[in-house]
Amino acid sequence: MIDSEQHPYVEWIAREARRPVVTDPVARERLMAAIRAEPAPTTRVPFWRRVVEPRALLLSPATMGLLAAGLVGIGVVAGGLAMNRDGRSVDQPRVGVAPQLPVSDTVVRFVLVAPQAETVSLVGDFNGWDSTRTPMARAASNGVWTVTLPLSVGRHVYSFLVDGKWSVDPNAPLAPDDGFGHANSVRIVRKGSAL
């Protein structure tokens, strides 16, 4: 225990101090009562997993409304900041800068060559996959079907319905399987005209 060269007095103090102490059983009961009043500890999920793993969030309609309003607010503030990056105040007229287009005003043209087709329509996430909402028009002579429509900026998944049959866009990348047995195409829409 104690180094042999230690003084006997030091050894004696250490030996006495090592004697067990008599504790109050009531104090231990108080401690366990306090422990039982605590919320139970649970197995901890590592921080990285909490960040990385997808989780479902259950939001009440009111919370969703607040969230949406907050996002719109952030968009408005961010938009305002973007307008001010050139150093002008908001009130100053912006000379030579085209007005910002609403995000849904990016115009996109879809084209499909289908000389034999009787009817062609465009279906996608932007029209609720409704075959009646976006019919495509055929040029008189060459069998080219087109439609032009405003789309919001971002990624859109779509397909053509050729005489009632699903058909991917041969000039666009494919989207992952939609889980319903259909292959779809993808169009990334950026700000401005995407014609």
């Binding site: 006495e16 067990p20 102490v21 401690l31 366990m32 422990i35 605590e38 139970a40 500890p41 901890r44």
Partner: protein, 179 residues
């Protein structure tokens, strides 16, 4: 899996009574350190309550590769330090009074025999950092490596503290002998 690790798993699975087993296993040993370190039972009980409560709350952060006792002691040492710091003024007064007693001509006050109170008084004369190192080394009988892991203080610094604590006690003996 050790008894401690098994009990921790049971607590984390919702069995609060398993924590009582851990408390029973370590309470007296922790109490000895806290009493010796803080010098009185009231402060020691506060330190024990805080230690076991904090350990319970943080149990999901306990890593099984660590020994539970070492993890618990780390919390205990920190709690004792906090309580000692909060009551530093009172302790300073206490130590000053003890110093007066030590220098007093009445030998009966400084040498009252082999009782716990006397040993406690002697330990209280040590600077808290020296006392902590002395207790961990010679009362808890830890290695310097264990002490270092527990306190965050380097081994050489801890050796120095233990040596100084022993020197202080030896000096005290010399004073008593020569008086």
């Amino acid at each position: 899996m050790s008894d401690d690790a098994a009990d921790v798993q049971r607590v984390l699975a919702g069995d609060v009574d398993a924590y009582a087993a851990l408390v029973d296993r370590y309470y007296d040993r922790c109490a000895r350190f806290a009493i010796r370190m803080l010098g009185n039972r009231d402060d020691a009980e506060d330190a024990l309550q805080a230690t076991f409560l904090r350990a319970y709350r943080a149990l999901n952060r306990y890593q099984e590769r660590d020994r539970f006792s070492a993890w618990l002691y780390r919390i205990l040492v920190n709690q004792c330090r906090s309580i000692a710091a909060r009551r530093a003024h009172r302790e300073r007064v206490f130590v000053r009074e003890e110093a007066l007693l030590l220098n007093a001509p009445d030998r009966a006050v400084t040498w009252s025999g082999e009782d716990e109170e006397f040993v406690q008084r002697v330990l209280n004369e040590l600077d808290p950092l020296l006392r902590e190192a002395f207790l961990l080394k010679y009362i808890e009988e830890m290695s310097y490596e264990e002490m270092s892991a527990l306190t965050g203080v380097g081994v050489s610094a801890l050796k120095m503290r233990v040596k100084r604590a022993c020197d202080r006690l030896r000096e005290r003996w010399e004073r008593i002998k020569n008086d």
